[in-house]
Symmetry: C2
Subunit: 143 residues, 2 copies
Amino acid sequence: MENKIFRNFLGEKGLKPTKERIAVLSEVFSFHGHFEPEYLYLRIKNAGSKASRASVYRTLSLLVDCGLVKKVTRTEKGNIYEHTYGHSHHDHMICDACGEIIEFYSEKLENLQDEICSENSFAGSSHTLEIRGHCKKCRTKQS
Amino acid sequence: MENKIFRNFLGEKGLKPTKERIAVLSEVFSFHGHFEPEYLYLRIKNAGSKASRASVYRTLSLLVDCGLVKKVTRTEKGNIYEHTYGHSHHDHMICDACGEIIEFYSEKLENLQDEICSENSFAGSSHTLEIRGHCKKCRTKQS
DNA sequence: CTGAAACTGAGATTGAATTGCAATTTAACT
DNA sequence: AGTTAAATTGCAATTCAATCTCAGTTTCAG
């Protein structure tokens, strides 16, 4: 489970599992979905724990390093993250109007990418696909 | 040609084709490849033209609006752009070992993405696909 | 317990990007 | 060509996420 993975990672690096770091970890895994650092910071405060913005940023970086969290994308506002442990692979569609992020997964798409890799003698290990445009709501709102 | 397209775009909006805007435009199209705003600013200075950083940013924004330039991605440092006119769409495979960037294009992939967008009632306008792994050279080198 | 090393929070700092504004330029209309 | 309103510019100030500094605090191995 993520707690163990994180503690292990810290141990290997000679880092300490402080309250702040654990607070960030558990908050990240307390909900499902994408988040910005500021939002996470506020959630932690709201949950009664304490961790400064600096610690949130610092811990987030550690969580990315140990693979528990992934930096999804960068917006005009800042970075967006998501936790990855126990979360299967998917890609994203991002609405340029309202910022909504839609997750999707397509077996066909995965296979096609494998095919393209073979054609190019490339050993693909991961990928990021981000489709930008307008979501259903924002499309209808326009007209 | 891009000069005409830009002037047309400006005309329609009641904007003026000032020396600064034209200087930015021609500099953007004076070379191939990706660039950051600051790099462009320095090139313009170096080319003997003049345009403040503010004007570079403002003009870049206009060029994106009229479709001549595309914001490729955001890095920790800032935005990266590329001119798109006369340059067809493609995606990238990036080798984690040697950094080589392989460009590829797949009609099937494009169609499949359109399909996925429809399924999600999403109006996709652009996408970025980046496949990471190891290129042919680095694969054989490993074994 | 103790001390060295790791951590933390608050505030300062960074740096890309944007904005306010006074001076300047553009171009439409005489 | 001259006039004038609107657009534009550059500079400096500002914004804002993210990072860094550093003095005080906490952790934990011995």
